[in-house]
Amino acid sequence: MEIVMAIVIGILFMTATYLMLSKSLLRIIVGTGLLSHGAHLLILTMGGLKRGAAPLLGEQGPYTDPLPQALILTAIVISFGVTAFFLVLAYRAYKELGTDNIEKMRGNRGNE
């Protein structure tokens, strides 16, 4: 399963990178969203998958690694904050400048 996950994560990163390199702000935001999903899954996979019960005492041991889960929980909430901030930034920029093309925002016509 870890190998399959590694490939899935790779594809998530690949699409995320492609979207982030484009010129449309909305695509960039979607790209960051995908990137954070990829990163979360990467952390989880590195801790080993399905190695035991959920990390709650009282379940039948052995338990899965709780540390990656704690890290991911933090990361999920942070990435939510970042995405929200970015989204509003894009929204503001669009209302102000009338474009979501990052090249046009800088006053260039964009290399189209």
Binding site: A6, M14, L26, L34, H37, P55
Partner: protein, 802 residues
């Protein structure tokens, strides 16, 4: 948390209250609310004298980061107490003076007193911390508060320049000192000064000893304005005069002196310490006094005079450090130098404090500090004149003022250098008394200029902005107290200071010289008979008067030092170069386009990872220790892949938002399958909230147009993204296959119930074991929401105004 700790941080806490006083009681000068604090603290610290005079030490520890040996250990010994009394005592007098100096209607008193209290707390922290890291933190805080105070009149160009200059130089020294502290830690394994002192004999041969010594001295020299780092102090005179009196003569600049005194037992084992401290001190002494003579601004004269006096104290400490190389207390020739250093430290605070206040009064009542415009003020301000006479004569080393006593002891200390046959110092030993004597002549000259050019001579009312008159009585209280101390100390040096202050301070500087039952006996005599010191003083007076009278004739000497070679030029040049250089460097790669930055980041990411994989031969594929592949997982994986790839080709904004949501929900199902219930729940809810958020913005977001870019642009992007994807996959596979370390998770699994009494390990890690992460995380969240709020609201108000 002990009373002692509370006393140290009390000024910092008080600083929070200042704006409240300022707002609520506008009719009353804010200074009156601040004044009680230093007085209370002074009385509190005064009560320690009975403890420290018996060589006892008070230590209180507050745990901070015990695992790294960093604890807020407050230690009161003779040396720390001396400084604490200076800080609070002079602090109280300065605040009293400032109440009359700063107008309550024109000045922003809340910021002024906040900064001043900040400084006071920081300074108390420096001198009373036994832990070097804590001391360093407070040390930097003094630099910051000094920066703020120098730049208090920030609308003036010169204030900003002076503030920046002092900040750059002292923080540079502070960082060097931090390096020294780290080196000391590497050698001794401790941050505690007491602990390090006890190991000083073992570390002297360590290869890091000399670098540590140099780093620490750099910190001390920059802070105490030693040549060639003294250039910040004259520019710091742009601060309001109470600040100059407090920070830049009596307290902050003495932090460097304190550091040298405090670490003498650690470093003085090596002769280099004696050489450097004494050498830099004596050069500073000469250069400061020599430069002071040519100044025309009262505060500039005082600034260079402070530089020179600091050099004097520093050189005494250097010579005194040689005492550690002779056994015992009795017949130890060099203790007298350290005694003189401590004694002069006190004297300097008294006479220089009063002189700064006099300069402030003159400035306040006449509108200028230029001695070429002043003159004949004696008749208008008799009391100020008297105070000025006392201060300057003490500074010049004349009886019956305390400066005379410490100046005599200074000469004694310098003459003892002739008999020092250690560290090859004999070859240049003769220079020490000679330079000391010449510098004293210059000191005499500028002292006379300071008082006589201002208060005697011809009155020039046409050059003054205001009609001079005597200062209000409140403004005179503080300098009068200091001036009377100058005289009282002269007549009763032993009963006041010797046993109570100076001997305990010596015990702190030379702990190894004390055996059980012995103690430092300090005796300061007024009359020693016809000694060489007395003749030196007489020579200073004679030559000083001669040169003072003939000053216009030899003034040209100063022309020999061209401005081009001045250190200030060097400093300005370095600042200019580094600014333009970093500007050029930055503009060369900071193009302002997100895409180029992302290309940098991703390319760097690919290259660095690929290289390390190849060089370290790290790629490995472990197909044995893998978990089974279930049909559900495979389906979910397929969903994620399809969803992710579709976002690239999504034609409408709604589609891409929904696809992102779909990927998110699938990922949360992954968490369910991978036994992470907390994550699954969080992801599910957050995905809902995010989609709601996206939809709120949805109406305003632009239509997603087809990416109509050139093929080459697309190809580059595709190449980079495929590279990133492949690299991540490879890293993930090798990270899974190489297990070099045992997982630390077992600790959490075992201790969740016993240490934190919880059962949900993830939650316990979040709120307890790794609570710091969570604390910072919610802080980041709060900042993000404030940013969003600001982005939308602030612009709206602006639009309303339009």
């Amino acid at each position: 948390m002990s009373l002692l700790h509370l006393a140290i941080i009390a000024p910092l806490l008080w600083a929070i209250l200042v704006p409240l006083f300022y707002k609520s009681f506008r009719q009353i000068h804010t200074g009156w609310f601040v004044l009680p604090l230093p007085i209370i603290l002074f009385i509190y610290f005064f009560s320690f004298i009975s403890t420290t005079r018996h060589q006892a030490i008070v230590m209180e520890t507050l745990n901070w980061i015990p695992s790294m040996g960093i604890n807020f250990t407050a230690k009161v010994d003779g040396l720390g107490l001396l400084f604490a009394l200076l800080i609070t005592g002079i602090g109280a007098l300065v605040i009293l003076y400032s109440i009359y100096y700063l107008s309550k209607t024109k000045e922003k008193l809340n910021t002024f007193y906040t900064y001043l209290l900040l400084f006071m707390g920081a300074m108390l922290g420096v001198v009373l911390s036994d832990n070097l890291i804590v001391m360093y933190a407070f040390w930097e805080l003094t630099s910051f508060s000094s920066f703020l105070l120098i730049g208090y009149w920030y609308h003036r160009e010169k204030s900003r320049y002076g503030a920046q200059k002092s900040m750059i130089i002292t923080v540079f020294g502070g960082l060097a000192m931090l390096g020294g502290i780290v080196l000391l830690h590497l050698m001794t394994g401790s941050f505690s000064i007491t602990e390090i002192i006890s190991q000083s004999q073992d570390i002297v041969s360590h290869s890091l000893f000399i670098p540590a010594l140099l780093c620490v001295l750099l910190g001390a020299f920059t802070k105490s304005a030693q040549f060639p780092f003294h250039i910040w102090l004259p520019d710091a005179m742009e601060a309001p005069t109470p600040v100059s009196a407090y920070l830049h003569s009596a307290t902050m600049v003495k932090a460097g002196i304190y550091l040298v005194a405090r670490l003498t037992p650690v470093f003085a084992v090596d002769g280099l310490w004696v050489w450097l401290v004494a050498g830099f001190g004596i050069v500073t002494l000469f250069w400061g006094s020599f430069s002071a003579v040519k100044q025309t601004d009262l505060k500039s004269i005082l600034a260079f005079s402070t530089v020179s006096q600091l050099g004097l104290i520093m050189s005494l400490l250097g010579v005194g450090a040689a005492a550690l190389h002779f056994p015992g207390v009795k017949d130890n020739l060099y203790i007298v130098a350290t005694t003189a250093a401590v004694f002069h430290l006190i004297n300097h605070a008294t006479f220089k404090g009063s002189l700064f206040m006099v300069a402030g009064i003159v400035d306040h009542e006449t509108g200028t500090r230029d001695i070429r415009k002043l003159g004949g003020l004696m008749h208008f301000m008799p009391i100020t004149f008297t105070i000025a006479i006392i201060g300057t004569f003490s500074m010049a080393g004349l009886p019956p003022f305390n400066g005379f006593l410490s100046k005599e002891m200074f000469f004694t200390g310098m003459l003892h250098v002739l008999e020092l046959d250690l560290f090859n110092i004999q070859s240049v030993a003769i220079l020490f008394p000679i330079i000391a004597w010449i510098a004293s002549v210059f000191t005499f000259i500028y002292s006379m200029m300071l008082v006589f050019k201002t208060f005697t001579g011809k009155h020039q009312p046409e050059k003054l902005d205001k009609k001079p008159h005597e200062a209000p009585i409140g403004m005179l209280i503080s300098p009068t107290i200091l001036a009377s101390l100058v005289i009282i100390i002269f007549f009763f040096p032993n009963s006041l200071l010797s046993e109570n202050i100076i001997s305990p301070a010596l015990a702190a500087i030379f702990p190894s010289l004390l055996n059980t039952g012995t103690e430092f006996v300090t005796h300061i005599g007024i009359w020693h008979g016809p000694t060489p010191e007395l003749f030196m003083t007489l020579g200073v007076i004679a030559l000083g008067i001669l040169l003072y009278l003939t000053f216009p004739k030899w003034r040209k000497v100063y022309k020999l030092f061209p401005d081009k070679l001045a250190l200030n030029r060097l400093y300005d040049g370095i600042i200019d170069r580094s600014q333009s250089g970093s500007y050029r460097l930055t503009t060369s790669y900071m193009t302002g386009s997100i895409r180029s930055y992302l290309v940098y980041i991703f390319t760097f990411f690919i290259i660095i990872l690929a290289t390390s994989l190849v060089v370290k031969d790290a790629f490995k594929l472990d197909t044995v220790h893998v978990s089974s592949i279930g049909i559900y997982e495979l389906l979910l994986a397929l969903f994620v892949v399809i969803g992710a790839i579709s976002t690239v080709f999504a034609k409408t904004r709604l589609a891409s938002i929904l696809l992102l949501g779909a990927v998110g929900y699938t990922v949360s199902l992954f968490y369910v399958l991978f036994r992470a219930p907390d994550l699954a729940l969080t992801q599910l809810v957050i995905e809902t909230v995010s989609v709601a958020l996206f939809l709120v913005c949805f109406y305003h977001l632009p239509k997603l147009r087809k990416e109509d870019s050139r093929v080459r642009f697309k190809l580059t992007n595709a190449l980079i993204s495929v590279g990133v994807g492949v690299m991540v996959t490879l890293i993930a596979l090798s990270a899974h296959s190489n297990k070099f370390f045992k997982s630390i998770s077992q600790y959490y699994i075992e201790n969740t119930y016993t240490e934190a009494a919880g059962k949900n390990m993830v939650n316990v890690i979040l709120v307890d074991f790794r609570g710091f992460d969570t604390l910072f995380e919610i802080t980041v969240l709060a900042i993000a929401s404030l940013g969003i709020y600001g982005m939308i609201r602030l612009r709206l108000t602006r639009r309303d105004e339009e």
